[in-house]
């Protein structure tokens, strides 16, 4: 075990700091240190995307980033997406279109979709599908997820 080092990260708009081991993954920092358990872990080879968050507005796999690497950045997790009671249009889309079953991949999917729509506000179905290539879902067969994102794009 190595010496702990201080990190400071802006998470969902709030400045959060802690002393962590340099090897601590960002996803574990979010989940264990900050109690933000909406970000999930589904693999250990950076394939599934369940851990997707936004770092400075761009989607990133938080299992592939050390907490110390995120120091000074702004991180948005699923918990920070809705504005109070009002769901984000992508969350709304997932609910309306039945874009989730077990819900385990969902936070990562929604964050990946947020990043996708930011870069391409009016994606085609093919673009949505390839935009989700970093995110695995075992339950839905993706069709309702694609519908959910297309709906959010229309509303947005």
């Amino acid at each position: 075990m190595s010496e702990k080092v201080p990190v400071e990260v802006r998470v969902n708009g709030e400045l959060r700091s802690a002393a962590v081991e340099p090897r601590l993954l960002l996803v574990h920092f979010l989940r264990e240190e900050l109690g933000l358990t909406g970000t999930h872990v589904g693999c250990d080879t950076s394939q599934c995307g369940a851990c997707t968050v936004l770092i400075d507005g761009r989607s990133a796999k938080s299992c592939t980033v050390f907490a110390v690497q995120a120091a000074g950045s702004a991180v948005t997790t699923i918990e920070g997406l809705a504005e109070g009671e009002a769901l984000h249009p992508i969350q709304e889309g997932f609910w309306e279109e039945h874009g989730l079953q077990c819900g385990y991949c969902t936070p990562g999917m929604i964050m990946a979709a947020a990043s996708l729509l930011k870069e391409n506000p009016d994606p085609s179905e093919t673009e949505i599908r390839s935009g989700l290539d970093g995110n695995l879902c075992r339950c839905t067969g993706y069709q309702h997820i694609v519908n959910a994102i297309a709906r959010a794009a229309q509303q947005g």
Partner: protein, 792 residues
């Protein structure tokens, strides 16, 4: 009492595309999954696992691990002998002992050999790395057909030639469950069918080993309280009540001293039931006096969460030249891995029962041999024995069509069980409840535009493109019950309580994990009572809440669990009727439930709250009535339901790369009455994706030393969004006569039907190169080799 599923006026929710009530929390990241459970003073468990497939443990050196920071306990299999019970099995067949942590021999890569408990997860993992295990290698048994000769080694004493089970079933066998005695089989009918056959199709086919791959891995949190004594255990289990039973017994407790909670679960698909790690966590919580948590990582999941399928079939069809199938014979070899888990040996026995597919095949015989190898055990996974059966049947039908030069749709039509033949007892022994197969086939052909598809294919071929069309007609066996059919009880339990404020709390033993029970079950009850679903809460997944249960397995929840709820609801309604009749001074026969009220048509009405307040504080009880409005019921189905459907796939194979593009996927499903079309579509979509995966990309491979070569999502490719087309789907509805809902179940349909449709399409695409059959998974390398003129 018969359950009353006729909607009360005002109840019109069955059949509606209701948005799910489960979702608001999940889309905000507020679900509680196993890894989100944390308790004060909780310690973390990690396992040292064998990296050798077969061998004898010579030494386990834990000294370095013990000295590491944060470590509270290091133990080996030998240390735990006598402390832990063996991993449970509930099949009726003989099975070998299966220690949760092995003390002496290792039999698959990933088998637990030792463990560490530490203050945090990183420390536990560090200490595991420091454990040194010396193993003396034994020859690894990896090929099932070689293993059957007892070569190159034997896995278990008492299982000669590595055979776990050998069972012969079908025509000529008197026992419904099959026989283990070849002498007791009458071969005359079978032999006659093949002797008089005008055409015989014979093909060896392989259903490869696959990984269920729920995106959430397994996990457990165990908390033992010594003073009560009481065990509370959170676990990723689809079977909370069975889990509680085995875990309680493991700690020497009664079932009344244990509670299993299945929190929100990130998928199960049959693979999350009861594992050795749960026993270890519970026992160590008792030993250390602290809550213990274990979370599987993905690399462990590939090695140690039950695998599935892995069946080799030698299939023979006897037929007439007009396409009529007169007999089917199958020899099945199932590679079940190193040990047995809860239902391991039971699963391949389910294959026999569906070998009739949707067809009236008069003679069916199978011989099944289950064999131990040095791999992770198999168990149920979406479809459980059925995808294998339908794959064998539907590949064979396609081969027959090709042999006879018939349209694949017409060969199927020729052999369908006709509507007037239901209930139809197949030669494989199952009684199918209802169906209109030809109507569904026609609906599928129309939806697909079959004739145009064929014409376009011909044009594409003429232009030199490798375009293929494949069809499958599947049958699913659902709602496993009654108890004579299911080793651990074929019923389900439900309870309905009208609270004092008139709202309803219901519980079900069918614990959900993504299937949307909270929504669909509320729809069912809302209609029964003539109320809005918003006034109903369904609780599940906790043995302290749902008193009894079997679980969400085998597509049985809505059919069996939903009916149990209706039965409980009927009892509550009967009681409300008595109270209302008394309060309104009316006759019980006059009382109706409509639009959220109870009362007399054109007369007095009471709200649910008014009836309930009286029921909980009655001033004068109706004779022979107890106060309160809370009832429960068990329901066991009289027989199983058999949903069905037809799928058509269109693929194009890239000659240069061997890549298969799935261009269209069209299907029509019939799962009886549909409670929530949105949820059913979701189930079908997910099922289809899980059937396409094994057709094209999913395959677990072990090398000759028993090392898993496909141990991550990098090498084991489950479908991504861009691998799949938009599914074009339709439905027909043929209600089941076997339950008041008329529902049949739908969880496994897509998985069963999709694999053969896609494989048939790829074989069709390659047929002009002389390819007659290929076993999945049809990944680019395999297809490329075929195109280059490799094995045919």
């Amino acid at each position: 009492m018969a359950a009353d599923a006729t909607p009360s006026p005002g109840g019109k929710h069955v059949g509606q595309r209701l948005k799910r009530r489960e979702d608001p929390a999940l889309i905000r990241g507020q679900g509680t999954f196993i890894d989100d459970v944390r308790l004060p003073g909780m310690l973390h468990l990690a396992f040292k696992r064998s990296d050798v497939a077969h061998g004898r443990i010579v030494r386990v050196d834990t000294s370095a691990a013990r000295a590491m920071p944060g470590v509270r306990l290091v133990a080996t299999g030998a240390d735990l002998q006598g402390v832990l019970p063996s991993v449970p099995v509930i099949t009726p067949f003989p099975y070998p002992d299966h220690p949760a942590v092995t003390p002496d021999k290792v039999r698959y890569v990933g088998e637990p050999v030792a463990l560490v408990v530490a203050e945090d997860r990183y420390q536990a993992q560090d200490a595991v790395e420091a454990i040194e295990v010396t193993i003396e290698d034994l020859p690894a048994v990896v090929d099932a057909e070689t293993a059957l000769r007892g070569e190159p080694a034997l896995l278990h004493e008492g299982f000669a030639n590595n055979v776990a089970l050998r069972i012969i079933s079908g025509t000529g066998v008197t026992e419904a469950a099959g026989t283990q005695d070849p002498e007791a089989v009458d071969n005359r009918e079978l032999d006659a069918a093949f002797e008089t056959a005008e055409v015989v199709i014979s093909q060896r086919m392989v259903n490869p080993r696959i990984a269920p791959s729920a995106i959430e891995t397994r996990g457990v949190v165990a908390q033992y309280e010594a003073t009560r004594p009481y065990l509370t255990i959170w676990s990723t289990t689809q079977r909370p009540h069975a889990h509680r039973r085995f875990l309680a017994a493991a700690l020497g407790l009664g079932e009344h001293q244990a509670r299993t909670i299945a929190p929100e679960m990130g998928g199960g698909f049959g693979a999350k039931k009861i594992y050795g790690e749960d026993f270890v966590a519970a026992a160590l919580s008792k030993q250390l006096g602290a809550p213990i948590k274990w979370i599987e990582d993905r690399s462990e999941a590939f090695l140690t969460t039950t695998h599935a399928r892995d069946v080799i079939g030698q299939i023979e069809l006897a037929a007439k030249r007009d396409g009529t199938v007169t007999a089917l014979k199958a020899r099945l070899v199932a590679d079940i891995g190193a040990y047995e888990m809860l239902l391991t040996a039971f699963i391949p026995t389910l294959t026999h029962g569906l070998l009739s597919g949707g067809y009236a095949i008069p003679v069916i015989r199978s011989e099944l041999i289950e064999v131990f190898t040095n791999k992770m055990p198999t168990d149920a996974y979406r479809g459980a024995g059925m995808p294998e059966a339908i794959f064998f049947v539907e590949r064979s039908m396609e081969l027959l069509a090709r042999e006879l030069g018939m349209d694949p749709a017409e060969v199927r039509r020729k052999n369908f069980i006709r509507p007037e033949q239901f209930p139809y007892k197949t030669a494989a022994g199952n009684e199918y409840d209802s169906g209109e197969y030809e109507r569904l086939l026609d609906a599928t052909l129309e939806l697909a535009g079959w004739e145009e598809m064929r014409a376009e294919q011909a044009a594409a071929r003429a232009a030199g493109r490798l375009v293929g069309l494949g069809m499958s007609f599947y049958i699913e066996l659902c709602a496993i019950g009654p108890s004579t059919m299911f080793p651990d009880g074929g019923w389900e339990h439900g309870s309905v309580t009208v609270e004092r404020d008139g709202r309803i709390t219901a519980t079900t033993g069918a614990s959900a994990h993504g299937q949307g029970h909270e929504t669909s079950f509320a729809q069912v009850l809302a209609d029964q009572f003539g109320i809005e679903p918003e006034t109903i809460t369904l609780l599940h997944g906790d043995t302290a809440v749902a008193k009894q249960g079997v679980g969400t397995v085998a597509s049985r929840s809505l059919v069996v669990g939903g009916t149990a709820l209706l039965m409980a609801g009927s009892k509550v309604k009967a009681k409300m009727t008595r109270f209302a009749a008394q309060l309104l001074e009316a006759r019980e026969e006059e009382i109706e439930f409509a639009n959220g009220e109870v009362g007399v048509a054109g007369g007095g009405k009471l709200s649910f709250e008014e009836v309930a307040s009286y029921a909980y504080a009655p001033q004068q009880l109706p004779a022979g009535t107890e106060p309160g409005l809370s009832e429960e019921a068990f329901w066991e189905p009289p027989g199983m339901t058999f949903p069905y459907g037809c799928y058509i796939a269109q693929v194009e194979v890239d000659r240069e790369t061997g890549e298969v593009a799935l261009q269209r996927f069209v299907g029509v499903d019939d799962c009886g009455t549909i409670v929530n079309p949105l949820i059913v579509e979701g189930q079908i979509h997910g099922g289809i994706a899980q059937g396409i995966g094994p057709a094209l990309t999913e395959e677990l491979r072990y090398d000759e030393h028993g090392q898993l070569l496909t141990g991550s999502f990098m090498d084991y490719a489950i479908p991504r969004a861009s691998d799949l087309p938009r599914f074009e789907l339709g439905v027909t509805v043929t209600p089941s006569p076997l339950n008041p809902l008329g529902a049949k179940g739908t969880g496994e349909a897509g998985t069963i039907g999709a694999t053969p449709a896609v494989v048939n399409a790829v074989v069709d695409a390659l047929s002009e190169l002389g390819v007659r059959h290929v076993d999945p998974a049809l990944h680019p390398e395999k297809v490329w080799r075929l195109i280059r003129g490799g094995e045919r």
